[in-house]
Amino acid sequence: MNAINNSILTMILLVPLAGAVLVALLPDRGKLANWIALGTSLVTFGLTLHLPAHFVPGQSGFQFEVNWQWIERPATFYHVGVDGLSLWLVVLVGLLAPVGVVASWNAIKERRKVFYALFLVQQTAMFGVFLSLDLLLYYCFWELSLVPMAILIAMYGRKNGPRAALKFFLFTFIPSAPLLVAILWLYTQTGSFNFAALQTVIAHGNLGAWPLFWVALAFLFAFAVKVPVFPLHGWLADMYCEAPVALAMVVAGKLGLYSLLRFHIGLFPVQARDAAPLMVGLAVVGILYGACLALVQRDFWRLMAFAALSHLSLITLGIYGLTLTGWEGAVFQILNNGLVEGALFLLLGALYESYATSEIDEYGGLAGKLPRAATFFVIASLAMIGLPMLGNFVGEFLILLGTFTGVSKGWAIAATLGVILGAAYMLWLIQRIFFGPESELAVSKPPEDLHAGQMAVMWPLAAMMLVMGVAPGLWLPAIEKSVRLPQSAEQWKAPAPVAPQSAMPVSPDEEAQK
């Protein structure tokens, strides 16, 4: 068992890559690539399930750690590990991979080999981002995750793929240039890319406030673009419109939010605290702005994009509220959001597949023809809205509670308004697509309801939404452990002498106390 524990993370990283190589080497015949990709992603998902099964919730610090030297100079290590923060995100990525494969099963008709090979490379990159504990390794995976995405958007874009791909790539690539400068600067100052070591050094405050301000800003900027946070969301709508469904659902939001928590707040607690008021403000603006724009969209991909902006901003609010409750809610909400977006993307993708349009007005009255799709769509939408008993309710509640008690009542009320608007646009969307009189389009085409593969995916997703809503206790302890502060969040937030080395996520000091 120990051998498995030591190599599990490496296996999680290598299996998709091996699958990609296999897909690339085998001939492009029929659905061979689909099956290999499905098999690989299921195996990987199975491997990721090993993590929660053998994760010791009581233990702080990183588990399943592997630390090998990779490059001698600059001293870079293949250093991976998980804690409560990344644990469930890894499982989520693992879960969404087979969902993505099923979603593209019929949608991708040509050059399947290229598609699935790149899709699997993307998996590796995503896992790498969540697992890396070495800043340079992290950066490598972070950048790597852009490439398959950009190529696939360009190849399979619906209308203007290359443009969206270029936008997506540059929007995330250019801000990562300052990020690399910042990482290199930290390296020249400390001689290490190691997350825990850097955390300690920065906490001891020998690096000078001014350079650290810029370094933290570079981190924040790079991650905020990726989330995206309000004024930096220019790439999001185009990406949602053009990207193959599988990629949009896999990528959305998670990388940036996780990075904010782990590397911005985790490494620079003092700077994060200074930036928090700004981020809270932007997050609330994002919630409302996204929700308002979602209300007026005529294209359901764009509607989903702005809805995503709204929901991701809510999570950002939870993160920068700097309260324990908010953080718990944020991490939990990243998971929920991933599930719900996965389900909605799959369903909308299926609609787009049969009707070849994303204009909402052309749809109408589909509920009678596509009862299965309609049912699941309503369930997923209700989850997204935050109906009690479904997962998002718990996350949103925790975030809003944290904001209400820990930040300001005004912001919390404004954010809640966004949740109400969220109900408005989602319900209206359901009404326009599935109910009302049957549109010409609905009449003209023979109905194609969800096929068995899609059902096989939708059932577990819907069940998960329910379980996460009813029994959040299964997840929250592990999350709480990782975002827990030794002192109360209030103390940490106080501007007076702080002990940032004890800030979340788990710091070496805390480990020492054990």
Binding site: P74, G161, P162, L170, I174, Y187
Partner: protein, 499 residues
Amino acid sequence: MNSVPDILRILPEVILTLTGVAVMLLEASWPTGRSRRTLGWVAAAGTMLALWASLGQLALPMGTGFYDTIETSAFTIFFHALICGLVLVVLLLSLDTLPEDCHHQGEFYALIVFGAVGMCLLTGAVELLLVFVALEISSISTYILTGYRKETARGPEAAIKYFLLGSFATAFLLYGIALIFGATGTTQIYEIARLAPMAQNQSLVLAGMGLMLVGILFKVSAAPFHVWTPDVYEGAPLPVLALLSTAPKAAAFAVLLRVLYEMLPTLRPVWSPLLWVVAVLSMTVGNLAALRQQNVKRMLAYSSIAHAGYLLAAFAGLGNSGIAAASFYTAAYVAMNVGIFAVISVVSGYDERLPLIADYRGLLYRSPLVGSLLIFFLASLVGIPFTGGFLGKLTSFSVAMEGGAVWLVIIGLLNSGLAAAYYLRLGLAAAQRPTDEKAMAPVPLVGAAVGAALLFAVVATLVLGIVPGNVFRAAEANAQTLRAPAAQNNTPGNPVVAR
């Protein structure tokens, strides 16, 4: 001390020369009308032998030969191996892309090999006059190769431009050598290093260094000495370009390292800011100009200018780490650059059927293999992790950061973000669905020779990006032999005696 026969110190050069002569003689006696591909294989075999010989030099005691004019050290072996490997790839590439009816095929292969002689000598020379002679040997063959498509207007134009400007540049170099000789009374690099700080007329040394820098920076096409690059690239045949954009630059960078770090280390306060400026100019000018190009070759020409800038950033690094980073980047640069030119040669052919970026539309659909290779090498040029391009850039910028040039690093990395835009334009064009499949020429099948060349480049780029350990160690061994001649050379597996 000098128990080694001198001839062993120039064994790779000797082998290359003999190969070149043999190819020339064979060409003359070859029956007219018979395929001349065999000659290419002869040249490739000779180059492989030279590669083996240069690696074999690791077993020699490090030191100088022929009255202290030529050196064998980890540094020279590193660059010899690099250049021989490159020439081998280019020969393999030419074997499959040169059309059957191409005129003077034998001479083509011979000229490539003769150029390699000059470049190898250039990296081994520790005597400025030999540097000059070697530079001429390598330049003259590249001038001729540039104009090889003499039936087109662009070919001779490019050759003449290259020749005229290149001659000016070498004249600058020679003038600089003369001034340094005037100041120190010698042209031997180690002697100059010893005498230059004591020279009575320091301004003479400075002027000499400045003029030499002009000559060398011209060869690496760094701004503001870059204007020849796009025109020459546009005119040169593609297989030649694979050579032209890599090997002479690698050799010139070796000379630059030698001249600056070994010959004039005391003048570091002067040349370091100078190179800072040149690096920033090259990156910025190269990238901004590349953004506007529609022609693939011109775009890559400007991109190579920008890469010269990234490489020069390593010169902001202190001592050993600067040399190691520059050497490593050179290796990464040549691997990915020869790769991308090889791909483009395959797609576009010797007669350049597809000159524009727009012509590459749908490449990934028409030929997934070639398209993927194109995107792979572009990703490396962009600096995507797990490729040589990323680690090269990373080492270069991290030593610059250690050297305190924070702004250089910021400008450099922003530049590389900017650069992504034009590389991506080509890459995304290739990934885009073709509009009209019939209108596009099919991609010719990849032959065995060119396949081997591509495989070589891909493996090199990946190795440099994923398991760079050995190359890093070799690059650091370079640094030690260069900076501190007494230091132990620790190239892996080959314990060698200190000089």
